[in-house]
Each structure stands twice: as structure tokens, then as C-alpha cells.
């Protein structure tokens, strides 16, 4: 046939970086769960459970969380502005959602929500976001520093693409980490430089550990370009203390690193003694301005109390870069033209929600607080349940949406896993799935200290399902230990 046998696209001839990258959150265990779900449909009663419960992914609305009414009112009106001309609309929609939709539409050239916008996102929406950032931090923010993206993830890819020239370029990432980072680094041909969070001290970030890993990487000829910090942590759930954040800022400044601050869980805080502080706020309060620290701060509409994952909205706030670098960031963003408008609008609502006095304020607060309090209760219930299991320790979820318990597996189980050609925690997670229908992600998908095993479970199933999940999990764990007891 062809003149060049290697030309056609086969698994042997595709980009090796594609082959190398991995993303466990929607990996093997999820595919298996989907097969079991099919089986339940075609052959009900054939499995020891009635339904699959997906605790593998931070996807709140897929597990019954309701969207914030005000946000959806504004979006519906923005999507179909003809509604604003009808008298019936004021009966069906709140007055402030109507006002906000009108304001948003007037900030869009021609009120055309179906048009490609400016490649950084609609200016008026970026203004609203900048105001929201300034109100949150007490330090000014600039609309021109904001790049609205289809979720926070494309913004992460953009920065990795800019920073990574070759395998000799490295990015410091926390271990455990959300595997977007490892996947993105692999896709863009760089090197992940791990720094270990300390499980014994609530997943503490020790600067001495980061420094050690940095120096180690440099001694191997790696140019370390940036430090990724996820705060609140994913999968680990810790919220950094201010002092810690100051150390991190100082460290990046001294070592010449770009700080990539993943702050998508900033509105998911469940403990009273910790508060979210953006890295930008911390840096500015230390007296570091634009000139002093290159910082990219990521936010998303997928998390918080709004959980609008399917809309794909988010932004990166890019500060401390020269104009020639920013032009390059803009240029790469422009190749994709713009992010989806609905997501852009939502991002502006998230950063600028109803205020006291607004018609929707009270119902908005009730919805918001209802969700956040429920998340806090679920985090606690699951954490306590996991800690009650033999050989399982689970750090508190101070924030985010996950629990990341450590499971001490008996030697026999580890051997059974090896015989089945699976990582021990994947073997455990698979057994858990097959006994209970609960889908979690093995710790190996996030990284962990070698010889330790974890899994990540979300706190997202609805509250009324939690007791059943806990009892099934407890029964499974006991049975598993008994089966593999040394």
C-alpha cells in the first residue's frame, strides 16, 4: 500500500508524549465502573449493590447538588435575551437577575452572546472579576491581567506550554497532586520535580523539603521553572497557613521561580481556624508588587458552592510578567479565539455574587450556606468513618472536596495485587468497587510516598446516601482485611 509504513496513525506512531501522560481520575477504574453500571442495567441483581456511586471526580451536580438559582436565572436571560422584552419574565425571574442580565448584555458588543469575544474574555466581565478579586484581597486587580478560559485546566496547559522548552525544564509539583499537572507536564515534554507534602503534619508543606527537591533537580541539570501550589489542596484538602504562604512567596522570589497558584477550591473551607488567602494577597501584603514576583492564580466555576463543572468556566490572573511575555500568552489564547461565553458570564457572577440588599441576596445566601454546611458535615462524617476503620488513617479535609485516607495493606494483599499485575491501592480500589459499587481513585494516580497506599474519595454524594456508603465501606474493609490477614 503506502510508501511509508510508519506514516499512518497507529499507537506505535503517535506522539510518545501522548502515550506517556496519564490521568487516573477518569482512568481504568472508571471504565470498569461503567461496565458494571451497564451490567446492572441489563442484568439487575447480578451484583452485590444496586447502583454505582461515582466518588472519583469532583462533579457535584452529577450527584444531586443544585445550581445557584440566581446564577442560572442570569444565564437563561443572557442566552435568550428576547425574554427581557416579555412582561411574563418579571413573574418568572427575580428582579435583580433581570437587572444583572441587562447589565451583562450591555457590556457585550451588540449584546451578541453568540459571537467570539476578545481572546481574554469580554472586557466588562473581566472588570467585574477584577473588582471581585480586589474586594476579596484588599489589593487592586487589573482586568487586563485576566484570561478567561474553558475551565481552569486550559490555563494550566497554556502556562506549561510557555514554560517547558524541553525535558531539561522542570516544574515543582506537590505529591500528592491533582494529576492535571503531571499529565500536562508530560504532554508538553517537561520534567515533574516532586516535593512531598507531610502526611504526619496534616499534609504540611515544608519549605526545606521543597528546597531539597529543587537543589536535587538542579544538580541533575534540570532548570526548574515554576512551583505549583494547590491551595486548598487536591487530593489532600489542607488549607495553607499564612506563614507557610509567606515562606512560599519568599522562596519563589529567591529561587527565581514562577508561582502557579491553583486556587480553584478557594470557596471550599470547612474549618473555622483556617481562612483562604490568595497568594496575590499574601505577596502584596509582604510588599511585593508587580515587578517582584511572576504569579499565575487560577480560579474555576467548577468548585466552591456553585459546582458548575459542565459549563467550563474559569480564569487565570497573570501578574509579574513582562509585556513581551504577556503578548505571547495572549497570542496562544487567540489561536483558540475565545472561551465559551456562558462560562465567562458565570465566572463574573461567581466573583461578583448578589450583595446585601439585592432582591436575591437572602435566597442566594441560604442556598450557598446550605451547600457549604452540608459539605462540611459530609467531610466530617466520612473522615470519622474512615478513621474508624482498622489500619486506615485519614487527615481532615480542611477544604476542597476530597478525602485521601491512607490504608495499611496486609502483605498478602500486596502480593495478591502484584499477582494481578495491579498497584496495591488500585487492587484495593477495584475490590471496593466490585463489592460496594463505590468508585474511588487509587492514590497511585496522585502520587504518594513509595510503600504507602491511599485512595481519593469525594465528599459529594448527597447527605442521605452517606450512611449507606459508610456501612458498605466498613463491611467491605473488614472483609478485605480478613481475607488477606497475615
Amino acid at each position: 500500500m503506502g510508501s511509508d509504513a510508519t506514516a499512518s496513525v497507529t499507537v506505535e506512531s503517535i506522539n510518545p508524549k501522548v502515550l506517556k501522560c496519564e490521568y487516573a481520575v477518569r482512568g481504568e477504574i472508571v471504565t470498569h465502573a461503567q461496565r458494571l453500571q451497564q451490567q446492572l442495567q441489563t442484568n439487575p441483581g447480578s451484583l452485590p449493590f444496586d447502583e454505582i456511586i461515582y466518588c472519583n471526580i469532583g462533579n457535584p451536580q452529577s450527584l444531586g447538588q443544585q445550581p445557584i438559582t440566581f446564577f442560572r436565572e442570569v444565564l437563561a436571560l443572557s442566552d435568550h435575551p428576547a425574554l427581557l422584552e416579555k412582561p411574563e419574565t418579571s413573574v418568572l425571574f427575580s428582579s435583580d437577575s433581570i437587572a444583572r442580565a441587562k447589565q451583562i448584555l450591555s457590556s457585550i458588543p451588540g449584546k451578541a452572546t453568540g459571537a467570539y469575544s476578545h481572546s481574554q474574555g469580554i472586557k466588562g466581565l473581566r472588570d467585574a472579576i477584577a473588582e471581585g478579586i480586589a474586594a476579596r484581597d484588599g489589593f487592586p486587580a487589573n482586568a487586563d491581567d485576566i484570561f478567561l478560559t474553558d475551565g481552569a485546566s486550559p490555563g494550566v496547559h497554556n502556562m506549561m506550554q510557555l514554560l517547558l522548552r524541553s525535558e531539561s525544564d522542570g516544574i515543582l509539583c506537590p505529591i500528592p497532586q491533582y494529576p492535571l499537572y503531571s499529565a500536562s507536564i508530560a504532554l508538553h515534554g517537561g520534567t515533574l520535580v516532586p516535593y512531598y507534602l507531610d502526611e504526619a503534619t496534616g499534609w504540611g508543606l515544608e519549605i526545606s523539603e521543597v528546597k531539597k527537591q529543587l537543589e536535587d533537580a538542579r544538580s541533575k541539570g534540570i532548570t526548574v521553572r515554576a512551583l505549583v501550589v494547590i491551595n486548598p489542596g487536591n487530593p489532600t484538602g489542607q488549607v495553607l497557613a499564612e506563614e507557610n504562604q509567606r515562606q512560599i512567596v519568599e522562596f519563589c522570589k529567591n529561587e527565581g521561580l514562577v508561582l502557579l497558584a491553583d486556587e480553584v477550591y478557594q470557596e471550599n473551607i470547612y474549618v473555622d481556624d483556617k481562612k483562604f488567602n490568595s497568594f496575590k494577597k499574601i505577596a502584596r501584603s509582604m510588599g511585593y508588587g508587580e515587578e517582584d514576583l511572576p504569579l499565575v492564580s487560577y480560579q474555576s466555576i467548577s468548585k466552591g458552592y456553585y459546582g458548575e463543572c459542565g459549563k467550563r468556566g474559569g480564569y487565570m490572573e497573570v501578574t509579574g510578567f513582562s509585556s513581551s511575555v504577556r503578548e505571547q500568552i495572549y497570542k496562544v489564547a487567540s489561536v483558540n479565539l475565545c472561551s465559551n461565553i456562558s462560562g465567562q458570564i458565570l465566572a463574573s457572577l461567581v466573583m461578583n455574587p448578589p450583595k446585601p440588599g439585592d432582591a436575591s441576596y437572602e435566597s442566594y445566601v441560604a442556598e450557598r450556606d446550605g451547600i457549604l454546611k452540608s459539605l462540611a458535615r459530609r467531610a466530617k462524617a466520612l473522615e470519622d468513618a474512615l478513621n474508624s476503620l482498622e489500619g486506615v488513617t485519614c487527615n481532615k479535609a480542611e477544604g476542597a472536596m476530597y478525602l485521601f485516607p491512607q490504608v495499611r495493606l496486609p502483605q498478602k494483599a500486596i502480593e495478591a495485587a502484584k499477582a494481578a499485575k495491579k498497584a496495591p491501592d488500585a487492587f484495593y480500589a477495584l475490590s471496593l468497587l466490585e463489592s460496594t459499587g463505590v468508585v474511588v481513585v487509587p492514590g497511585s494516580g496522585f502520587g504518594q510516598v513509595p510503600g504507602t497506599y491511599h485512595f481519593r474519595c469525594t465528599i459529594l454524594p448527597q447527605e442521605d446516601k452517606i450512611p449507606a456508603i459508610i456501612s458498605r465501606l466498613t463491611a467491605f474493609h473488614e472483609a478485605f482485611l480478613n481475607q488477606y490477614r497475615d
Binding site: I14, Q61, G114, C309, V332, V335, N340
Partner: protein, 480 residues
């Protein structure tokens, strides 16, 4: 200490990437707009930005999906027709928890099924929804495929010249090599297989492994609609040379002549039967941004894979999963586009009316613009058979070329900047798309409102004639 990220230490591939559609001309136009000048943006295929109205039915459906509490309200029938209400319920049921939940990374299975059914109706051949991936706009799909194919700078991708610069940008970003093949302007931008064979041979002699061939049909910026014979020859060529065919068919609904209707590459591939239909690897792209929908801001698109191995499809799925899922409203727009109101539906009449009006107007504007350009003595413009653009060739006098060069600008950039400053018409110079050496073009869209078109063409002609006056020498016509 040097800044951690300065221009020098950026990824070289990023620095080399160019995307003229939102490049120098657009940035200058935006500056002028800020200063208060009226700008007509014809740099990008963005219909709604130039006054085209969204179709009513899809907006009604998506608004209901955004705010499902409306569906429970007894008064909802006062604001929405029954079929929009039913359709919203249908799509909400297909999601895994409404618009706010990540869907399957390949897109909502029910919507992919609707896309498969559309493809089958269009082409007469069945297709597998599992091989259809929805994406945030067709561009993301193109980038994913090119990223999967390109291993290093020795991998080449055949790209038409002129081309839509997403291809050149993506190839540069991913570190591959662009292997150009020239479309024949004098033969209505048709394919010249001798030229294509020469290009591929030349690339191979330099050690390049040519992996894939891009075809844009209808063409962008060129607008030509390929004949069935052309597409057959193309498929045979890909079969012989072992190339993946990347068929950008996003303008398949934008056809302004009747001699060459749109036929998908896939249909022709299956018409040709085995061995080609079983061997030729094909990826076809489509979008909600173009056609008569023009819903650019929704970012809805898909790609369909034919004859890629299951393992390859798995790897592409894996990469899609890192981004979790395409945006759900965009997916619903795609479902609605491939499954629009049918005769008998309450909303059918209005939907048909709105669609027809847009299509008829686009056809008229294609003519107005082509004729307007051709009425200028130094301009030759092929008819816009399809897509949304006009790509006239502007013959520039030698002195204009000299002045441009001494100003450090490509001659067509120079011309387009002058055009912008004189008239507010923001175009993209032909150099942004590629063209033969010494031949200059600009790309404009046919999207300004029909009633504004005559004035715009007048304004262009006035500028062009003045430009020629200024730069032409008095010995008559400039070099043609």
C-alpha cells in the same frame, strides 16, 4: 537575577507561532476603536458580531436547560413553545445532572448518537457514536489530533496554501513541519495534484515523514467547494501515500452555488468501497460556529474518526479526559444543530424562515462582495462558492511594495493597514494565510449586514483607487 520567565526563556515553539486572524491588523483595529474610530471587523468569521441574530429555537431550549426550575412553573408555556420545552427536557435527561455536571469526556452519549444519526442521514452510511468526540469548538479537536500525530520536527503535515492559520499555528506549537501544497488561484482555487506530489516528494527528500493531509472544504479563506472528482483523487492519494486525511468541513452548510453541493469526504470514501473505505484514515471536523447558526461563542464542535485503530482512539480519549469534558451547553447546541425542528413541529416554520433568510442573504452578499472587488481594476476575486470569506488578489504597484518594505512591513500588511486607517475596514492580510511569492491578497468576511454592503464596497473602492493613484507610476497600469 534574570526574571524567571522572560521572552528569551520561553518555549521556542510558542515564539514561532503566528495567528494573523487576531494579529497585527486586529490589534491595530482595536486600538483605533478605543480612540473612537468606527471599525468594521471583517477579520474573523463571527456572524453575530456583525448583526446576524441567533436562531430562536436553540436559544429557547438552552435557556430552559440553564434554568430547569422554569420547567416546573405553570406559566412556562407563556414564554416558551411546547416543542422547546419538550426538547429541553430531552437534553436534560441525556445529561448526568444538568448543564453543570462534567459529561463523558467524549461528550454526552445521547448527543453523540444524534450526531451519528445526522451523519448517516447526510451521507447514507452508518457511523459509530463511539468514534465521535464532541469538543469545545472544532479548533480544540484539530489541535488534539495534530498533537497526537506530531512526534517531532521530522513529522510533516500537508496543508493547503492559502490556509486557515489554526493549522500552521498548531503545527508550530507542537513542533512539527508544515508541508505546503498550493491551491490554483487561476483554476478557482482547485487542487493541483502535480503540485501536491511535488510538495510531498520535496519534503521527503529533506527527511520529513509526511503523516497527514489537511483539506478545508468549503475552503477558508478561499471559499471553493471541491468537486467529487477532486475528493476521490484526494482519497486515492492519501491511500497511496499512507496519509491521514484531516477533513475540515466546518462550512458544509455555507454553499452559495448549485454546481458543487457539499459532499463529505467520508461519503465519497465509502462510495469508493474497499480497500480504500477500510484503509484510509480520516478525521472529519464540524462546528456550531458557522453555517447559518453562527454560534461562535458557544464553542461547540465535534470530530469523527474513521479507520483509526481502537488503541489509537483510546489514547485520544485519554487526552480528552485530562480536560474532563467539553462544555455542556455547546454540546446541546450541537445536538440541536444536527437535529433541528422538523416539518410539523410548532417551531419549524419560524426556524425555517430564520434559517432561509440567513442563507439567502449570505448568498447575495457573496455576490455583492465578489462583484465589488472585481469592479476594481487592480483586483481579481474568485467567487465565494462557500464558507464566509472573500479573498481578493490585490495587484500592488512596485512603488507601494518598496514603500512597504522600507517600512518593515509585508506589502499586503501595509495595504491592509492603510485600508483600515482610511475606512475602518479591518481585514486580514493574505500573508496570514499563505500565498504564492509576490502575489498579495486580503481576507474579508461576507458577514457585514446586507444593507451595509454596498457602502462598504464603495468605501473600499474609493480607498483602493486613491491608493493606486498615490503609488502607481504614470505609465499606465502597474505590473500585472
Amino acid at each position: 537575577m534574570a526574571k524567571p520567565l522572560d521572552y528569551e526563556s520561553l518555549n521556542e515553539n510558542v515564539k514561532k507561532t503566528a495567528y494573523a486572524v487576531r494579529g497585527e491588523l486586529y490589534l491595530r483595529a482595536s486600538e483605533l476603536q478605543k480612540e473612537g474610530k468606527k471599525i468594521i471587523f471583517t477579520n474573523v468569521g463571527n456572524p453575530h458580531a456583525l448583526g446576524q441574530k441567533p436562531l430562536t429555537f436553540p436559544r429557547q431550549v438552552v435557556a430552559l436547560c440553564q434554568a430547569p426550575f422554569l420547567l416546573d412553573d405553570p406559566n412556562v408555556g407563556l414564554l416558551f413553545p411546547a416543542d422547546a420545552i419538550a426538547r429541553a427536557k430531552h437534553y436534560l435527561q441525556l445529561t448526568s445532572g444538568g448543564l453543570g455536571a462534567y459529561s463523558d469526556s467524549r461528550g454526552i452519549p445521547g448527543v453523540r448518537k444524534e450526531v451519528a444519526e445526522f451523519i448517516e442521514r447526510r451521507d447514507g452510511y452508518p457511523t459509530d457514536p463511539e468514534l465521535i468526540f464532541l469538543t469545545d469548538g472544532a479548533s480544540k479537536g484539530v489541535m488534539q489530533m495534530l498533537n497526537a500525530i506530531i512526534r517531532n520536527e521530522n513529522d510533516g503535515i500537508l496543508v493547503p496554501v492559502p490556509q486557515y492559520p489554526l493549522y500552521s499555528a498548531a503545527i508550530t506549537l507542537y513542533g512539527g513541519s508544515l508541508v505546503p501544497y498550493y491551491l490554483e488561484e487561476e483554476a478557482n482555487w482547485s487542487l493541483d495534484f502535480n503540485n501536491i506530489r511535488q510538495s510531498i516528494a520535496s519534503a521527503r527528500s529533506k527527511g520529513i515523514t509526511v503523516r497527514a493531509m489537511v483539506i478545508i472544504n468549503p475552503g477558508n479563506p478561499t471559499g471553493q467547494c471541491l468537486s467529487e472528482a477532486n475528493i476521490r483523487e484526494l482519497l486515492r492519494f492519501c491511500f497511496l501515500e499512507n496519509l491521514v486525511l484531516l477533513a475540515d468541513e466546518v462550512y458544509q452548510q455555507n454553499i452559495y452555488q448549485d454546481e458543487r453541493p457539499f459532499i463529505s469526504a467520508r461519503k465519497i470514501l465509502f462510495d469508493m468501497g474497499p480497500p480504500l473505505s477500510k484503509e484510509v484514515q480520516l478525521v472529519s471536523f464540524h462546528t456550531v460556529s458557522k453555517g447559518y447558526w453562527g454560534e461562535c461563542g458557544q464553542r461547540g464542535g465535534y470530530f469523527e474518526m474513521t479507520n483509526l485503530s481502537p488503541k489509537t482512539v483510546d489514547e485520544i480519549y485519554k487526552v480528552a479526559s485530562i480536560s474532563l469534558s467539553p462544555n455542556v451547553p455547546g454540546q446541546i447546541f450541537m445536538g440541536l444543530m444536527v437535529n433541528p425542528p422538523k416539518p410539523g413541529d410548532i417551531s419549524y416554520f419560524k426556524f425555517e424562515q430564520e434559517s432561509k433568510a440567513i442563507m439567502e442573504s449570505l448568498r447575495k452578499r457573496a455576490h455583492i462582495m465578489t462583484d465589488g472587488f472585481n469592479s476594481c481594476r487592480n483586483v481579481v476575486c474568485n467567487f465565494t462558492e462557500g464558507a464566509m470569506y472573500s479573498f481578493p488578489q490585490i495587484r500592488l504597484p512596485a512603488r507601494a511594495i518598496e514603500v512597504a518594505k522600507s517600512a518593515g512591513k509585508a506589502p499586503d500588511v501595509f495595504y491592509c493597514l492603510k485600508l483600515l486607517e482610511a475606512t475602518g475596514i479591518s481585514t486580514v492580510p493574505g500573508s496570514g494565510f499563505g500565498q504564492k511569492e509576490g502575489v498579495f491578497h486580503l481576507r474579508t468576511t461576507i458577514l457585514p449586514a446586507e444593507e451595509d454592503m454596498p457602502a462598504i464596497m464603495e468605501s473600499f473602492k474609493k480607498f483602493n483607487d486613491a491608493f493606486m493613484e498615490e503609488y502607481e507610476d504614470y505609465r499606465g497600469y502597474s505590473r500585472m
